[in-house]
């Protein structure tokens, strides 16, 4: 039962992402509306992967990634960064901060699903 | 525009209304009169929980009124944020009319109906008239900010 953390401050965006990912068998979604909430959730329970928006209030997606990678138990957590196109340099910045994969909005359901499967396949023992 | 049109009859004439704007059609058994409203307002009816003003198209078209019959229908139309029912003598068929078949009415018809008839179309050996719903309900340009 893959535990997914969906992080975006837009409720409708989260709903769209979850709709795309429902095809993953047995997936369980936890939502977070801010980077702070995401970190809080991550500190209290293990997750199999995170879908993370970069553009959020309070702390940016980059800071969230950096913080995650700074924690021992979260170092290997697969992170898929999703952000709006036109954010030049954000890909490089996200990847160097430690994101596992990166994609831009708008995306099709197939591509999001594909990215997440690729994300979780890389992990040994993962249930895609 | 969609091709489907509702065919209705008022006195001996046949008219059509775009089906896309029609919410529902109901039999007519009388309306709650609204004192002080225009004469063309037959009154208010309650249809599926919604209170709708009804215009008597006979009055709108300058014809004498009749008591409701078993064929009388209220055609509830919606355009924008206005929902208004039109009372006609008969409305049961839905026709498929390609938009290209509509012709502008003769100038004298436009004049005499004050634009209430928007177009005419030949269907078989009948001549049908397309009603301009917005004109009928008296839609003026909204003065918004």
């Amino acid at each position: 039962m893959p535990e997914a953390l969906i992080v975006d401050d837009s409720k409708v965006m989260r709903e769209m992402e979850m709709a795309c990912l429902r095809a993953i068998e047995g997936v369980v979604f936890t939502q977070a509306a801010s980077g702070l909430e995401a970190l809080e959730r991550l500190s209290l329970k293990p997750f199999d992967f995170v879908v993370l928006d970069l553009n959020m209030p309070d702390i940016s997606g980059y800071e969230v990634i950096e913080f995650i990678r700074g924690q021992d138990k979260l170092r290997a957590l697969p992170i898929l960064v999703v952000t709006t196109r036109g954010d030049e340099g954000s890909r490089a910045r996200a990847m160097s901060a430690g994101a596992t994969r990166f994609m831009t909005k708008p995306f099709s359901p197939e591509s999001l699903l594909g990215e997440v499967r690729a994300l979780t396949a890389a992990r040994p023992g993962a249930t895609p | 525009m969609s091709e489907l049109h509702v065919l209705c009859k008022i006195a001996d004439a046949e008219y059509v209304l775009p089906a896309a704007d029609v919410l529902q059609m109901e039999s007519f058994t009388g309306a709650t009169k609204v004192p002080g409203a225009d004469e063309q307002v037959a009154g208010l009816v309650q249809i599926r929980g919604r209170v709708v003003p009804v215009l008597d198209l006979r009055v709108v078209f300058g014809l004498p009124t009749i008591s409701p019959t078993i064929d009388s229908r209220v055609v509830v139309m919606k355009r924008g944020d206005r929902t208004v029912g039109l009372l006609v003598d008969y409305a049961r068929e839905v026709l498929k009319i390609p938009p290209a078949d509509f012709q502008p009415p003769p100038a004298v018809v436009t004049q005499q109906t004050e634009g209430l008839v928007k177009a005419v179309v030949q269907a078989g050996n009948r001549l049908l008239m397309l009603i301009d719903f917005t004109k009928v309900i008296g839609e003026e340009r909204e003065h918004a900010e």
């Binding site: 095809a23 509306a33 209290l44 | 009169k33 004192p35």
Partner: protein
Amino acid sequence: MTSGQSGSQGGGFDSADFVAGFITEAEEHLALANANLLSVEDAAAKGQSTPRQVRELFRSLHTIKGLAAMVGVEPIVEVAHAMESVLREADASAGRLPVGAVELLLNGVRAIEHRVKALEKRQAVPAAPTKLIDALSTLRPSAPRDGAGDGEQTTLAPEIWSKLSGAERSQLVQGLSAGRRGLAFEFIPTPALAAAGLSITAVRERVAERAEIVKVVPRSLPTSERSPGGLAFVLVLLTDGADAALAEVTAATPDAFTPVTLVARHAPAAAPVVEGGAVEDELPEDALRHRGVVRVEITRLDEALERLSALVVTQFRLGRAVAAMRVAGGDVRALAPIVTENGRQLRDLRASIMRARMVSVSELLERIPLIVRGLGRSTGKVARLALETSRAELDKAVAERIFPALVHLVRNAVDHALEPPAERRAAGKPETGLLTISCRELSDSQLELTVSDDGAGVDAAAVARRAGAPIPTTDEALLELLTRPGLSTKEEVSTTSGRGVGMDVVKRIAVDELRGELTMRTKRGQGTTFSLRIPLSITIVDAFSFVCGDETFVVPVAMVEEIQEIDLGLTTRGPDRRRAPRPGGDRRRTARATEMIQRRGQAVPVLRLEEVLGLTSAAEDRSAVESGGGGSARRKAIVVRRHGEAFAFAVDRMLGQQEVVVRPLEDRLVRVHGISGTTDLGDGRPTLVLDLAALGGRLVRDSTGAPPP
């Protein structure tokens, strides 16, 4: 609008499903953007910078862009992108926008709003406004500024300080320099706290109500009993209040708070933007945002109300059936309390739904600053707006009706009342005119909105001239002239105020439609104040039902002074005033005779409702009966009062009293004076709700020969 692909692998994703959610979120961000832009403009005029607002603006537009891209509305994506680029640059330069940016950005917001509305109405979304986009693209960025970061130091721990952006450092330093207290508050999430509802989000909300949050910084901690998650959040705050209050709402211990102060080496001249040093206070919008507001589509609430209306009718029927059983000798002892309880629960349910329909006054007034700004620009007059709102809320139906009236008063004030700057200077007034809109709750069910200006006051002589009436001596009389239909001074037909709502309509909305009050105070050379008093909710009322002329009607109990039985054979009849029916068929004012009765020492006119309403065929029957001398001429009369005058409306018979859901009559075809709306008494047909007071009032006016509206 393109619909999304619904691939089989994608689990049936259709972007059309998400359009409603997109519209809701977009509208929220657009409202926030408007408020932020006005705040930025205001602050810039005072030489202050607004890094937080600029950051928020950037984020809002960036979000709109992403969502619009997902639901496939290209024109919005284009505008949002152009705006976002400008804002990103500004954000990188510590919150300074180039000259002329605010105006263009406001136009951008409007362009997006327009397209979102089109989407909502399922119309074609207009193409992107290329001229506006070009203008945005050619904005020159302002000269790069230093962040006021490294010149100043604070006692904030270095690893926290390093996480603050230039703008946030500025914000903290400016706040401290202005004398506010700095605090670093450490919050450690635990499963126990989360279970008790104290998540970081909740803590943040509560703290935001009492202090200004500069930043929330996550910190790693070694895993321990105290910090099972290995995580702490440090909230960097500026506050004027006591720590105790904060500690209370966050279940924190005193050691969680560490003061933060400046380690200033010299006066903050290194932050040249700030004069007088005040940092922008947290916008009230922020508090709203964190309040966990759920926006419900109003149509869903209307649906719920309709279902409730059906329940109310069923309850009524149930009550009558039980009563009938009792009368027939049945044993209803077990039933009766259940029915009563059911009624009670329905009332509670109704109250909950009505609460959900409430719109806060600040939401009602949200667009006014924008309107004032636009008016100022187009009339060349300079106007400043002071809004004094309260936490009051009103029913959405009331808010929607009062808004155009409010807008007209505002336009009137800027257009006519406020003098041009030169004239004001000559009169010794500040060049900038002041418009104040304030609101206060009068009682549980009334709200008072006042629109005040410090302009020239109303010229009674000019108004009297236009109306062809003697110069009024009191403000009430002047207001009466002003609200006469058809009265329009030459200036009123100017570009901004001319079409649409006039003062007569303002009065009609406030008084007739909403059953409120409109008053005015004015003083030549000093200014004018209009007061609108309106009930907060109009939808459910206690009403009497009665029959008149073979039709059933209801009248709100609150409007009725008394229900009397009168003997129509014993009324005092005055001279017969026959009036020909008006052309156009309005038969309502065909009065047959002036009848009066004595009531508590006063003469009260008796009006036969069937005549007032023009149900003449029944009226003819009745008077035939009466003149025939036979049969009872005793009828019930409903006594109402209007502006101190009593009227007795004779009806056929009273039916009963019940709570009814009143549905206002929306469509203009049936918006008629004297009819407040319709209700359903259980027979599935609309029953008219009469405003007898208004009908009485109208008759008085007509009898003085005033032209009909």
